[in-house]
């Protein structure tokens, strides 16, 4: 094996000796942060924050106890995202602050006696190294050859640095690895994106249709709360899922569909609504384009046709379609969130959008409301230089309908196989563990090995840090200011994040990291402030408030400019599509050479002895980022493999037994996983929660607990419409005895 430029570094950094206490600098720091003076608790006011444990960004209050230590976080009553109630992850957010495995100091990759290792360095030295490399890459290839992968609040600061430096190659895996097909499918239909939080009017929904969307296991806080409120009001749920999800267990109808056949079911549902004249005729007549085309298209997509494909009985398909129509327009076909499944995902999401259109739920009470967002002025800075090329030029017209950058395309542009003149030679990865977020890890690592600079910014020693040239330790959200939260919602609102504690160890907030690095890059004019609190105060004063006032309130809600949450009866309305109408027949897709009306195409089935690998969420964990959090690890410290009892019996495996998995490409799981024998899953697939099986030994609590589904996702089906990575076409077999492994040194 050829020697890699960037071996994964398994051992602890030099001078850590595996023990933090051995380090005098850090010891001094620890002494500083453990403030020991007793404080009168009645004098300590709770500090406002918004949560960073997931993307829902709920606003809350951080409470400090009489010892001056962080005690608990509670939701802000005024916040539409949480209504005063944090979810388990947000409630356990303090674990991020308390986790002793946190990154503590800047680290640099060095070679000692022919062995690569990390060495602690000062911030200044790290910045000098990074700035030199950035300038070198810029001179050799242009500033555009630096790419930023980001997720979360820290990334926003780096985005500004990249633009100031001259690169617009900025991406987040949350698009092409997650919600992208949904945005494209709904935009093609209604001329509007879904965005986040999704503008679903759940609290008024009477019939909720979930397609592989396991709300309640994905803990989208306000939506879980609204669904619960709707259950109180008699909500009827129809869940399509091969597994009895939590939501399925609360459903009137659970349709345990054969995986990868959803489009057939959706077409048959439309067939019933159209042929039985159950659709919202007035709404379709006024707003929709291409109804006749649709009518012809679904004429032969009968429930009997769909039964053959989906295994869902034709009469159940009819009954559920009629139920949807009965409650319309307060029937919501939820768009879901993680929808990159089989590579034809944009078309599946189109079908879901069209079904909503037939039921008249877009812009109607109990369906989708029209959200509004507050406007926050930008802090003044010089104009950004223009970039001579971006990822769009690299793609040269491919995936034209993608509304955001496609993270996997950045991997391609960084890979040795990229023969174009648009090359990416340096990466910043901020707050996203690409090893488990972007499928086809092998390719990602080949791209990383081809870089001239690789910087990782994180709070935790995630797997991705093991490949970096430089690791920069970011402090947690509880120790920093960040941008004002602005989110589309029923009521426009803003929320702030104020530090509740000083940054521990040598960690720093991203705004500081960016400002200091900008000094080295001679870009300080773009970051003309000493503390981010100045930026926030300036923005808030422009809006007629102040930071001092926000510290008391945490959140401010505004009146809507457009009074209507929903369409009025017969209201003239222009949709953002090429025709200005709801496009049942998509002119956008037709223009790009794709099916203007969705078609069902069969997908490969698992070969004998193999099972489709499905994965999902647990309510107490976010992605792969919380497995090591002491509070949340306590609630769930490993994932288990859901196996149907009949399958388990046939394979001779029992509940709790540890087994390994091997996928269709011969890739074996790095660790064993415990079997969970359960009647909640069918015969042709197995299921696990994503985000476990951490391979980095520095994550002491989560290392080797459970397995990583991402490692087994080697078959990636790319969505031809927008470049999304379909990840649910992977098949696994059980390996009972510990597999032999190649030792990679």
């Amino acid at each position: 094996m050829s020697k890699s430029r960037r071996e994964f570094i398994k051992i602890s950094a030099l001078s850590f000796g595996g023990l933090v206490m051995a380090n005098p600098i850090l010891n001094a720091m620890i002494g500083q942060v453990q403030a020991g003076e007793p404080i009168d608790a009645s004098k300590i006011k709770p500090v406002p924050t918004y949560c960073e444990v997931c993307f829902w960004k709920c606003a809350g209050w951080v409470h400090t106890d009489e010892k001056g230590e962080l005690w608990k976080i509670e939701g802000n009553e005024d916040d539409p995202h949480c209504k005063g109630r944090f979810c388990p992850r947000g409630t356990g957010g303090l674990g991020m602050y308390n986790d002793e495995d946190r990154l503590k100091s800047p680290l640099m990759r060095v070679e000692v006696n022919g062995k690569q290792t990390f060495k602690e360095v000062s911030w200044d030295k790290a910045f000098r190294f990074i700035a030199d490399k950035m300038n070198q890459i810029s001179e050799e290839h242009g500033p555009e050859s630096l790419a930023l992968f980001k997720h979360g609040s820290g990334g926003a600061h780096f985005g500004k640095l990249f633009k100031a430096f001259g690169s617009r190659n900025i991406t987040a895996p949350s698009y092409a690895q997650c919600r992208g097909p949904r945005e494209v499918g709904f935009h093609a239909t209604f001329g509007a994106n879904i965005n986040s939080p999704e503008p679903v009017d759940l609290e008024n929904t009477k019939c909720l249709v979930l397609i592989g969307n396991h709300i309640g296991e994905n803990m989208h806080n306000s939506h879980v709360q609204e669904m619960s409120k709707a259950i109180d009001n008699g909500l009827e749920i129809i869940t399509v899922d091969p597994r009895l999800s939590t939501a399925a267990s609360k459903s009137v109808h659970w349709l345990p569909i054969k995986p990868a056949t959803d489009i057939a079911l959706l077409l048959a549902w439309m067939h019933v609504l159209v042929t039985e004249k159950l659709y919202d005729k007035a709404y379709i007549d006024q707003y929709a384009y291409g109804f006749e085309d649709l009518e012809a298209h679904i004429a032969d997509k009968t429930p009997e046709w769909a039964e053959e494909i989906t295994t869902i009985k034709a009469d159940v398909i009819r009954e559920t379609a009629r139920k949807m129509a009965y409650h319309a327009p307060a029937t919501l076909i939820h768009p879901g969130r993680h929808v990159t499944w089989y590579g034809d995902d944009t078309q599946r999401l189109r079908a879901m959008a069209m079904l909503n259109a037939l039921l008249g739920s877009w812009g109607r009470k109990g369906g989708f409301y029209f959200p509004e967002k507050a406007k926050v002025p930008s802090f003044p800075h010089p104009a950004y230089p223009s970039a001579s090329w971006t990822w769009k030029d690299y793609l040269d017209g491919k995936y034209a309908l993608a509304g955001s950058s496609i993270a996997n395309v950045f991997v391609d542009a960084s890979h040795p196989d990229n023969k174009t003149d648009k090359k990416i030679k340096g990466w910043f990865v901020v707050g996203t563990n690409l090893i488990s977020t972007i499928p086809d890890t092998k390719k990602t690592l080949e791209a990383i090995d081809n870089l001239d600079l690789f910087v990782v910014v994180d709070t935790m020693p995630m797997e991705i840090t093991g490949y970096a040239d430089i690791i920069l330790p970011e402090c947690t959200y509880l120790e920093r200011y960040d941008d004002i939260r602005v989110s589309p919602n029923r009521e426009p609102n803003i929320a702030v994040r104020i530090p509740a504690a000083k940054p521990k160890y040598l960690t720093k907030p991203s705004d500081w990291i960016v400002r200091k690095l900008a000094e080295k890059l001679k870009l300080s004019a773009h970051f003309n402030y000493k503390s981010y609190s100045e930026v926030l105060d300036w923005q808030l004063k422009q809006m007629g408030f102040s930071l001092a006032e926000m510290k008391e309130r945490g959140i401010i809600k505004f009146d809507r400019k457009n009074a209507n949450l929903y369409l009025e009866e017969g209201e003239e309305y222009e949709f953002g599509t090429p025709t200005g109408m709801i496009e049942l027949y998509s002119t956008d897709l037709e223009m790009e050479g794709f099916d203007p009306l969705p078609n069902y195409t069969p997908h490969p089935e698992p070969p004998a002895g193999f099972f489709r690998l499905n994965y999902g969420r647990a309510p107490m964990h976010t992605f792969g980022r919380t497995a090591n959090n002491p509070n949340l690890n306590e609630l769930m410290n490993e994932n288990k493999l859901w196996v149907n009892p009949k399958i388990a019996k046939k394979a001779g495996i029992v509940n709790g037994q540890e087994i390994w998995l091997e996928n269709q490409d011969g890739v074996k799981s790095e660790f064993p996983i415990k079997v969970r024998v359960t009647e909640r899953i069918g015969m042709d697939n197995v299921y696990m929660v994503h985000g476990f099986g951490k391979s980095n030994k520095k994550l002491k609590r989560s290392n080797g607990r459970g397995i990583s589904d991402s490692q087994l996702v080697t078959n990636v089906m790319v969505d031809p419409v927008m470049g999304g990575t379909g990840m649910r076409g992977n098949f696994v077999k059980f390996v009972i005895d510990k597999p032999e492994r190649e030792v990679i040194s």
Binding site: K72, F86, G92, S228, D232
Partner: protein
């Protein structure tokens, strides 16, 4: 005054927010908990159903733990709360053994600990922390002696059960089914 908790299994999603909120609020050390969530599955695929339940001390009206405590550390307080006086507790564990709900644990500091219905919050007019954090609003807390209270009304209008009624402890945590 008769404090009771009513939990709607139709809404609970088993997220365990009640567990982590309680651990923070009451400084329960990592590795221990005063409340927990269980999943109970019935049937065979595809005719299968599950019940999710958040469980804790039932603050029983006829508490074996109070009866068997040799020092009087386990005692009743206003509203029928079953409480442990840490100072009086010798950590003998008799109550841990006696509880049919397995709701008590030996705290590493040498006394027995369990759910207190967040008595300290009740005094401030707040709900127990598990009730006030629950994102599904599936938990209710109040006075069963007040026939107009939300808990009384829920028990009047909905089907409910208690856990292990056969042991005769008269538990005061009710589950809507």
């Amino acid at each position: 005054m008769r404090y009771a908790m009513v939990i709607d299994t139709k809404k609970c999603v088993g997220c365990s927010d009640c567990v982590v909120a309680c651990q923070n609020e009451n400084r329960v050390p990592i590795g221990y908990c005063r409340d927990w969530v269980i999943e109970h599955a019935k049937g065979a695929f595809p005719n299968v159903s599950i019940e999710l339940r958040s469980e804790r001390c039932n603050h029983c009206e006829n508490s074996p733990c109070v009866r068997c405590c040799p020092t009087g550390a386990s005692h009743y307080e206003e509203g029928g709360l079953v409480m442990v006086d840490r100072g009086a507790c010798i950590g003998c564990g008799a109550c841990v053994q006696s509880c049919p709900y397995n709701a008590r644990f030996s705290h590493p500091e040498g006394y027995v600990d369990k759910c207190s219905f967040c008595n300290h919050r009740l005094k401030e007019g707040k709900s127990p922390s598990c009730v006030s954090v629950c994102p599904t609003n599936c938990m209710y807390f109040g006075d069963l002696n007040d026939s107009e209270s939300q808990v009384s009304q829920l028990l009047k209008n909905r089907d409910w059960k208690v856990l292990a009624p056969e042991v005769g402890t008269k538990p005061q945590v009710y589950y809507l089914i």
